[in-house]
Symmetry: C2
Subunit: 152 residues, 2 copies
């Protein structure tokens, strides 16, 4: 260990701001979406990923990857959505191990009713507080943080 230098003021500030911003944002978004729509942000994310996919269906592993969720986490999450009738599981015909998560019509309409609320919340707490330039800088910096190890 070649004596890694301590973090200076700026570095520490950036790091702590990231932690704090994430914590606040997620807390608020979760609470508000729960209040307005009775849905968690993660559940919302599942519906969004499916709705963006070809045919409203995605393999479990693919979906887990997009949602930054472990396989087991996704399994449980889908259980809830399935029992709520928003998503169905379909066995993959060409590989009988695999399963598709499929958005139901009910799930799609549920998403359409929740989306405006969520978008408004993201705008209010995040997007609208920053200039276009800042958004671009933020995205650029945060992407750099991910590249190089395994991100896609």
């Amino acid at each position: 260990m070649p004596a890694t230098p301590w973090l200076d003021e700026l570095e520490m500030h950036a790091w702590r701001s990231l932690l704090r911003a994430h914590s606040r944002l997620m807390g608020r978004l979760d609470a508000e979406l729960q209040a307005a729509q009775g849905m968690s942000v993660t559940d919302y994310g599942v519906l969004v990923s499916l709705s963006e996919a070809e045919g409203g269906r995605l393999r479990m592993s693919e979906l887990a990857g997009q949602l930054l969720l472990s396989p087991s986490g996704l399994t449980r999450r889908l259980d809830g959505l399935v029992s709520a009738g928003l998503v169905e599981r379909h066995r993959c015909p060409t590989d009988r191990r695999g399963a598709y998560a499929v958005l139901t019509p009910s799930g799609r309409s549920r998403l359409q009713s929740a989306a405006p609320d969520h978008v408004e919340q993201v705008r209010r707490h995040f997007v609208d507080r920053l200039s276009r330039r800042q958004l671009a800088a933020l995205a650029d910096a945060l992407d750099k943080v991910c590249t190089g190890t395994d991100c896609g």
Copy 2:
């Protein structure tokens, strides 16, 4: 609801990058600090906050605030650190409801042994991937996200 416009490419990118970066960072830091020091990032945070405080001691509520943790979350977390001998609870003499979390000598040395690892990990995964200018821009943008509601 005055028809909030959908997020465009840039806005969506920034938002998703934030979620992804945080997820990756926390995952890696937690795993690496656990492997190297057998300590969670949250526990590390407790020790840091205490070590930075006057006399190595802080009121529970103050500590919870700094760590972005609920009161109950902090209570449990402290239980672990207390039983590991790294922190002690002291009743506040002037207000017998209150309690101080106090860093023990053992806790301080534990922190000193863990700090280089943690700092190195934060450097490797975050700080060293960004220029000074990017760090400043990041901190500035993320702080704007927090101001206005209740942040300090």
